[in-house]
Symmetry: C2
Amino acid sequence: MTGRDLVVLGTASQVPTRHRNHNGLLLRWDGEGILFDPGEGTQRQFTLAGVPPRRVHRICVSHLHGDHCLGLPGMLQRLALDGAGQVVSVHFPASGLPYVERLCDASIGRYQPVRLDPIPLPAPASAAAPDVPAVPVASQAPHLVAEGPPLRITALALDHTVDCLGWRVEEPARRHLLPDRLAAAGVAGAAVGELLASGRVQAGGTTVTLEEVSEVRPGLAVAVVMDTRACDAAVELARGVDLLVCEATFLEGESFLAADYGHMTAREAATVAREAGAGRLVLTHLSARYPSPDGHLAEARAVFDDVVVAEDLAVIPLMAAGQA
Amino acid sequence: MTGRDLVVLGTASQVPTRHRNHNGLLLRWDGEGILFDPGEGTQRQFTLAGVPPRRVHRICVSHLHGDHCLGLPGMLQRLALDGAGQVVSVHFPASGLPYVERLCDASIGRYQPVRLDPIPLPAPASAAAPDVPAVPVASQAPHLVAEGPPLRITALALDHTVDCLGWRVEEPARRHLLPDRLAAAGVAGAAVGELLASGRVQAGGTTVTLEEVSEVRPGLAVAVVMDTRACDAAVELARGVDLLVCEATFLEGESFLAADYGHMTAREAATVAREAGAGRLVLTHLSARYPSPDGHLAEARAVFDDVVVAEDLAVIPLMAAGQA
């Protein structure tokens, strides 16, 4: 399977609404499927999206609040029922292990086999005594979750009310042949194969090297930043990504709630995208208090151009920044 | 609050479909709310049905297969979030206690306080050695779940692949005044109050007794019979009820599957209703293999007249049999 996109399964914060299910994001990257934060009802959202659940190979749970994890048992039962076969890796903050274990044995029946990957987090700044300087979040070493091929996945601790992880998914930089330079050098047909195999080829009475007719381009990158206050780690995760999916629970009018409950406003999310030099920003995890996403769009667009508000069952293609 | 009805929250078997969520039934009986089998997504179905979750005072879990219980954590979190206040009784087969305990602590956050009521089941017939006569299910004494006012709730073990309970909810018989007899006896106004208070009153030169101008009518009764093969216990639970909600996973063409997986066909469910002398039959828990409910309706109506197939978000009024 080829194709890379993000299937939006749910976009609600805390409580679902008529139009927004609890969280759920499926990142399809050629044959790989990474499910982020399966909230309650995620299994059915696959059906409504027309996507078979067995596309899931890996599940990343940002934290163990119910709206980000209560769909895990249903997904693991469904994968077993559908005969998916693969062992599914489940990544989550280590302090959440007792919850994940209970979720993996929550009802009678067969569950897809899992490889549990509890990720230890640095002590959060908020846990430090007031007179002890907090370790700056930016000084965290990214936790290596998976090293491709095809993908490298890293995680950083965010700044929520409980241990919470943000994710960065990227492919390695790759060399791309440049058709105009190939043509100018007179390299075509079988000579291209020789060039790729040996790094050089004779053409037009001279030696053409691979470096002369190609360039190295960075791979695509995606960041998923769920429940957190604005923080350096969010910016680090999103640094230069093509797509940033970011929580934006509140608007600036409720910034005091955002601070209290460990969330971002739409403006803060857009500021993270701008500081990180992200390509496109997708806002999600909207509080049910807002009847329309218009406020989020307006607030974010004042800071960052390429922004959309995620809607349930939308499919967002993943492409290099600037190609949209 | 007055009014009695059944809010259908979900009607799927095993896997949800576009139009059928996992199980969920809310019986509203004046101020009481009894939730049966909260499958995954039940919390959101309340929102779609326009019913506040805090209407739930009691939760009856027939058995611990995921499609009947994975919505429990979300409901208990939602009740706490909404400030419902009440301690919620949760009734379930005793062998399911470890699962219920995990469901009540499945993610970080506050859960509505619960009173767990594990109900011991007689050893199922299928567990008996082949040469030992199974204890007939009909010989079970009903388990008293709750004794009103206003309601009496009893349970009987059904015949599924795992321990499973069916439920009967009924109100006590009550004396009703008969307006035509009151008028014939010349009892009106303040005399009615005296009649009710003392059991007799003077009217038209004679003594009129309460018994002469009233009759005792049985209270309304409802049975909820989920995952089971046809069995005596299902008939006992449904004996003379005004409304029987009954699983009908399969059609007769798949009766071999029904037998293997411990379920009923639509014809079998209708036969239970007929043998029990039920008023109205509501079929639910339909297998996703059937694209339309027409087969279920036709098969059941050949055996029993007053039958409907439950559809998600339908509200079915509860009234005495024959008053529909």
